[in-house]
Amino acid sequence: MMHFMLLFSRQGKLRLQKWYVAHPEKTRKKITRELVTTILSRKPKMCSFLEWRDLKVVYKRYASLYFCCAIEQQDNELLTLEIIHRYVELLDKYFGSVCELDIIFNFEKAYFILDELLLGGEVQETSKKNVLKAIAAQDLLQEEETPQGFFEDHGLG
């Protein structure tokens, strides 16, 4: 089971944090800070796995973003790399050649896509097509709601 996933830039700014095990805010901050410094200090040629506390951490850099997941001791590291790659592919398909700015300004969409890929730290859907289909359907729901809502919301309907 995955315990958490973090996305952060090369300067250490968080772009996404998804926790599958609930921790109080202070603990999360501590963990994040520690892990970010550790990973940023690793050299480019080093392998993508490291032992950290009682978990294993798998990370990969895509352009300017680091994708970092913490998994349990018995989990398969190569599989986690696959999951990260799958997520990046999904983001790419959705945003069309995704870049860090897309994730910054549309952070909630990044979360929604992740929520269709993983649930409770386990893989939910392995087919890219199905994930994108679900997201598209939900986006449609949102679009259908908005025009009606606008005038009502502002007391002009």
Binding site: L79, L119, G120, E122, L141
Partner: protein, 722 residues
């Protein structure tokens, strides 16, 4: 009234939406906290409005702030409000904020129960979907208990999307509320044959995770999974199933035997690295659990090792790392198969990646033998010089000592070489395991008699020139850890002082005035060993001219270790000049800074030594030669027997004296005031029933009250701490 409304609307137009917030943050990098504080104030105002859309906007911004790293738990009620909105857009964002910020201890979680229940049974499958995704992040035991039935209902939904999410959610429910497992399990099992592959995958996933925690209960499902494994082509699912089998085989060896064939087939045929890796790991686990006697054991191990070699040779660092990791698992049970690939592992030692070097180091442990030990250690020492990080150097040091000392120094053929390695190690800067090196030196010197002369020679060099090795760090506030080797050096020289070539010089080194800067434990050892050397030197010194003549001709043979390198003018007049004779008065001078040390142990030992010398000098000045020689003989005898190493299990071998029953109570057992119930940490085991508690309660009452007589006994017993 209308005006108020219009005014309100106008204000709302100026509300920041998410994009504005993000842009604003990026433009205010210098005064970020101020900007954010301002935004939070605005958000608080927005949250007080009646308008749902405004609130939803505010919560979106809050979710963003949470992601950046700010705490938003104060807005819990507002998040719940937005979650309960009928509009999907708002609901979605509300649940997102909840999954980010809620955690199991939050009291307001109870407020969400009914809302989640309603959403789970919604017509819109996506509403149920977002509820499930969020719930999985913050489910608490109470929520799990209350909602487990609703989630089980989802398992029979007509929509595969919901069935899939429901199955995965069940796992989280089981983790928090184990009682839900028993009633849910049959339904879960059904899902293994669900027509939709996604749902089937999810069910396999959940059962595999459950089985890893408690394999016994899932042994019965093995045939089902076997069929799935041989028929499925979905790699994700295969990996989970194989991992499951890895957990089951220790309980059922026959299963292991059946598995070897399909697993080896997979290893041969698959091109997916992750699947290959999982198969190899499971094969290793299976073969470890099958005890003996399978003829195709070796073939399978060979196959695994071959494939691992391919992994390690790959240029991809990740594969190398995992290959080495798996090799070390094989090493514990089949060392010979791994030894064949020694060359490859030695090459990995030179890799640029530190993690890989460390893994290769771990493997070395099982691969050294008498012939290659020196070569390997030499290589490791070379590495140590080139190494950048101190952690890596420390690892290397630990490794060197580990491989040399394993199995009682089984592989060392030349102990002199080992001592010189240890001395060389003590010269390396920046290492932190000084006491380990010191204890190795001691260990070798004590156990290997033949090595003692050489060891003493090396150690005395250390004692005489500590500054050459440790430099100015000697006197600094934080001396290097390696300085502990001086501890070993002093002890070895003192204990085996018969081998010292120039005891007086060694003594001089130990009592040098700069030695007060050393750590206190080292000073204490120094002083004690000065006494030993003194004990060694005095008897011959006190016997008068024949010995002194000897000393003249033979130089410093068994020079008494009394520290007195100085030529005492008086002594020169009394007896024939022996430049090496110990000058006791001078020793006393040297002892002065030690006597006034602030550390008790140092002070005490220096004081003892000083007083002993005083006695000796007094006797000497009175001319009582007989008494002096007796005194020095006694002292020498005190240190004459050899100290042998004590085996770890020695205490167990001491026979218990007859009539002593170690298990009987000395006094009557105390009555417990409270029973502590120990619950097992097994998640899926049935908890204690009330009946269990009942019996323990009645047991308690049966403990007899201590009689008056016994109470009297209790007070008299001085060791009874009431």
């Amino acid at each position: 009234m209308a005006l108020k409304k219009v005014k309100g609307n106008l204000e709302r137009i100026f509300d920041k939406n998410l994009t504005d917030l993000v842009r604003g943050l990026r433009n205010n990098k210098d005064n970020e906290s101020k900007y954010i504080a301002q935004c939070i104030e605005e958000i608080k105002v927005e949250l007080r409005q009646d308008n749902a859309a405004v609130k939803a906007n505010a919560v979106t911004k809050l979710a963003y702030l949470q992601m950046v790293g700010y705490d938003i738990t104060w807005a819990g009620f507002n998040v719940i409000e937005v979650m309960s909105s009928p509009k999907f857009t708002h609901k979605r964002i509300g649940y997102l904020a909840a999954s980010q910020s809620f955690h199991a201890d939050l009291e307001m979680l109870m407020l969400t129960t009914n809302m989640i229940r309603k959403d789970l049974s919604s017509q819109n499958q996506y509403e149920a979907g977002v509820a499930l995704s969020a719930l999985s992040c913050f489910v608490s035991p109470d929520l799990a208990r209350d909602l487990s039935n609703d989630i089980m209902t989802l398992l029979s939904s007509t929509k595969p999307y919901l069935r899939k999410k429901g199955v995965l959610m069940l796992y989280k429910i089981f983790l928090k509320y184990p009682d839900a497992l028993r009633p849910a399990f049959p339904r879960l099992k059904e899902k293994l044959e669900d027509p939709d592959p996604g749902v089937q995958s999810a069910a396999v996933n959940v059962i595999c995770e459950l089985a890893r925690k408690n394999p016994k209960n899932y042994l019965g499902l093995a045939p089902v999974f076997f069929k799935l494994m041989t028929t499925s082509t979905n790699n994700w699912m295969l990996i989970k199933i194989i991992k499951l089998f890895g957990a089951l085989t220790p309980l059922e060896p026959r299963l292991g035997k059946k598995l070897i064939e399909p697993l080896t087939n997979l290893i041969h045929s698959t091109s997916a690295m992750s699947l290959l890796y999982e198969c190899i790991n499971t094969v290793i686990a299976v073969l470890i659990s099958i005890s003996t006697g399978m003829p195709n054991h070796n073939a399978s191990i060979e196959l695994c090792v071959q494939k691992l070699r391919i992994l390690i040779e790959d240029s991809d660092q990740n594969l190398k790392y995992l290959g080495l990791l798996a090799m070390s698992k094989i090493l514990t049970t089949h060392p010979k198969s791994v030894q064949a690939h020694k060359d490859l592992i030695m090459r990995c030692l030179d890799d640029k990646d530190e993690s890989i070097r460390l893994r290769a180091l771990d493997l070395l442990y099982g691969m050294v033998g008498k012939k290659n030990l020196m070569e390997i250690v030499k290589k490791l020492m070379v590495h140590m010089e080139k190494a950048e990080g101190t952690t890596y150097r420390d690892e290397l040091l630990l490794k060197i000592i580990q491989i040399c000392s394993q199995n009682n120094y089984q592989h060392i053929t030349n102990f002199e070489w080992y001592i010189s390695v240890l001395v060389e190690l003590s010269r390396v800067e920046g290492l932190s395991h000084g006491s380990m090196v010191a204890s190795q030196m001691l260990d070798v010197a004590v156990r290997v008699h033949a090595i003692r002369p050489f060891a003493v020679e090396q150690m005395s060099l250390l004692l005489e020139n500590p500054y050459a090795i440790f430099g100015m760090a000697l006197g600094s506030g934080r001396p290097p850890s390696m300085i502990q080797v001086l501890y070993a050096a002093a002890w070895i020289c003192g204990e085996y002082c018969t081998f010292l070539s120039n005891p007086k010089k060694t003594l001089l080194g130990m009592l040098d005035s700069r030695m007060v800067q050393l750590p206190h434990n080292i000073q204490s050892v120094y002083l004690q060993n000065c006494l030993k050397i003194l004990a060694h030197l005095l008897p011959s010194q006190s016997k008068g001219s024949p010995v002194t003549a000897n000393l003249l001709t033979n130089g410093t043979e068994d020079g008494e270790s009394d520290d007195q390198p100085d030529q005492n003018v008086d002594e020169q007049e009394h007896s024939a000049v022996e430049p090496d004779k110990v000058n006791l008065a001078e020793i006393q001078d040297f002892l002065k800074p030690f006597i006034s040390s602030e550390e008790l142990e140092v002070q005490e030992r220096a004081g003892c030594l000083n007083n002993f010398i005083k006695c000796y000098v007094k006797l000497e000045s009175k001319g009582q030669i007989d008494d002096i020689s007796e005194l020095s003989e006694e002292l020498a005898n005190a240190f004459s027997s050899e100290l042998n190493p004590v085996a770890v299990k020695a205490q167990k071998k001491v026979p218990v004296p007859e009539g002593l029953d170690l298990d009987a109570w000395i006094n009557d057992p105390p009555s417990d005031s409270e029973e502590e119930t120990t619950e097992t940490t097994d998640v899926f085991v049935k908890t204690h029933t009330a009946a269990d508690f009942g019996s323990t309660l009645t047991e308690k009452k049966k403990v007899p009250e201590p009689t008056e007589e016994e109470l009297g006994k209790v007070c008299l017993d001085t060791f009874y701490i009431v």
